[in-house]
Amino acid sequence: MYHYNDFDRAFVQERVNQFRGQVERRIDGSLKEEEFRPLRLMNGLYLQLHAYMLRVAIPYGTLNSDQMRTLALLAEKWDRGYGHFTTRQNIQYNWPALSDVPDMLQALADVGLHAIQTSGNTIRNVTADHFAGAAQDEIADPRPVAELLRQWSTDHPEFQFLPRKFKIAVTGAAHDRAVIQAHDIGIQIVENAKGEIGYKLLVGGGLGRTPMIGKVIEEFVSQEDLLPYCEAIVAAYNLLGRRDNKYKARIKITVFENGLDAFRDAVNEQFARTKPAFSGVDVKLFEEIRAQFAPPAWRNAPVDAYDAAYEADPLFRSWADTNLTAHRAEGYAIVSVSLKKPGQTPGDATAEQMRALADLADLYGHNELRISHEQNVILPHVHKSDLPALYARLREHDLAAANIGLVSDIIACPGMDYCALATARSIPVAQQIALRFEELKLEHDVGPLKIKISGCINACGHHHVGHIGILGLDRAGVENYQVTLGGSGDETASIGERAGPGFSADEIVPAIERLVLGYLDLRSSPEESFLAAYRRLGPAPFKAVLYPEQEAKRERADAA
């Protein structure tokens, strides 16, 4: 894992000191709110419905156990005992008092964390595959690149006032777990015919008001060209991107309006300028960073304990079947710890749970944790012989839900329970769907299904790329939920299509139930997933189960 050097430490400390002074000046009246607001946003501090909210970056979702303990400390000492992990691998605290925030930032800085550029029209937290460094299918660990990009983009003088926010995601595997096609820049590590490692670059993806799938701007960018090329992309966007209309300011609109070829020309023009400015120091830096991400020393041990528990304990077996992923190292597994126990708020962890996870990472996980964009916690390197003991400990802390990738593993943004931008609530919808399917005891039968819920058009809950997406809106002063179908966030990314009229808060859970039960009748075999069935059959049969009254009307009309 990356450890801050003296420069990083000094920089982050200076920012904490600056913000402490800014908060003092706001409180004593020497700064007006209009002056203070951009300063607090630069440090991740929002003002929401009920309180301030502090958004802390977890770069590429990677944490060590001391950092996780500090996240727990913040929750306990300055918040209400919990934190909310987000779809951008950040953590949000929902109740800090303004005067406490500098102390919170100091505690974070002490363990190499910060909240810089978690808001504002800047390059945000660079996200990555949460299985990085552990996945069997990756060409290379995406985190060294993500860290290089973090260092390059942090306080980059040219990119502090972009037309709009800018999000970058990196995957090291062809199977995309980082949703790169829905990012402003998506980066996929690839290998060319000569066996050289390079980067496939996508631009102009994004969700929100105008969802778009990213387009490949370059098939292969070498290591030496990566930063100059990224700098050229952002520089071209900075010049061409619209500033007249907030809703047309993201790079997806710039690429769409200018066309990919014209945008690529603009990037190449910038590249001629940026390339000579990179002397190769970036490649040297990359190598230094990469050395810090060397894999831990794998243990070679028998896995009998795992096999025995798997045979003997059906609960352990069920958990192992859903929550474990194959690891690149012999005898190891990737453990996904679900923060989606039915009825729980998706992505929330208590301080006690965060500490327990930190302890488990120390004991069994080579001191590493990950936060996934799907709002779960990953222990990326656990030897199989330790899994029965780990599972027992997870159960003690209410962290053993066996539902990764299933109906109740729902992504949900904070929605109108917290967010000032929201148009409806998302959390209660997620809670009720999960509880309903727990009651039905069907989710293992249903199999892989991604439900994603956003409480407004900005789509923090990624509803467009949910197999089933739910968007909460305000329709004439009442919460109303629109359903989209057939979205996907992986390498086969697609934007979900709107199914039809929205549902009231009372109707949405029964509607989703009809849809899922309807799918069970429509699938060709238990192996055909919801998404596969939708792609084979198209929307019509799914709409028919979602809107039975319209369907009945249509049938009557056909019969007449």
Binding site: G29, L49, H50, A51, N94, L98, I427, G477
Partner: protein, 99 residues
């Protein structure tokens, strides 16, 4: 035709705690919306909003929100404003347990 004025309260978030507060007739900021001043006249409401905006040392982002007279005082008309009087629905936090 200009829209007919509907009764309003002045509301904002407190500078230090960030919680939702409402302006009372005697110029205090209260966490209990029922104590707020309900204003039927547009000109008066605008004056009260101006007064609120001059209190940047106490509150952030004051605005006029629709409200109606209830048995115990003004009540919100929109669900967003209702949530602000209550707190989140997933935990017993905020005004629903603090007032």
């Amino acid at each position: 035709m200009p829209r007919k004025f509907t009764p309003k309260v002045v509301t904002a978030n407190r500078l230090l705690e960030g919680d939702a507060v409402w302006l009372t007739a005697d110029g205090r900021w209260t966490p209990d919306m029922r104590e707020a001043e309900l204003m039927d006249e547009e000109a008066h409401a605008e004056l009260r909003l101006l007064a609120a905006q001059s209190q940047a040392d106490l509150v952030v982002g004051p605005y006029l929100a629709d409200a109606v007279a209830g048995a115990a005082g003004p009540e919100p008309t929109h669900f967003r404003e209702t949530f602000r009087t209550r707190g989140p629905s997933n935990y017993a936090h905020g005004k629903q347990v603090e007032l």
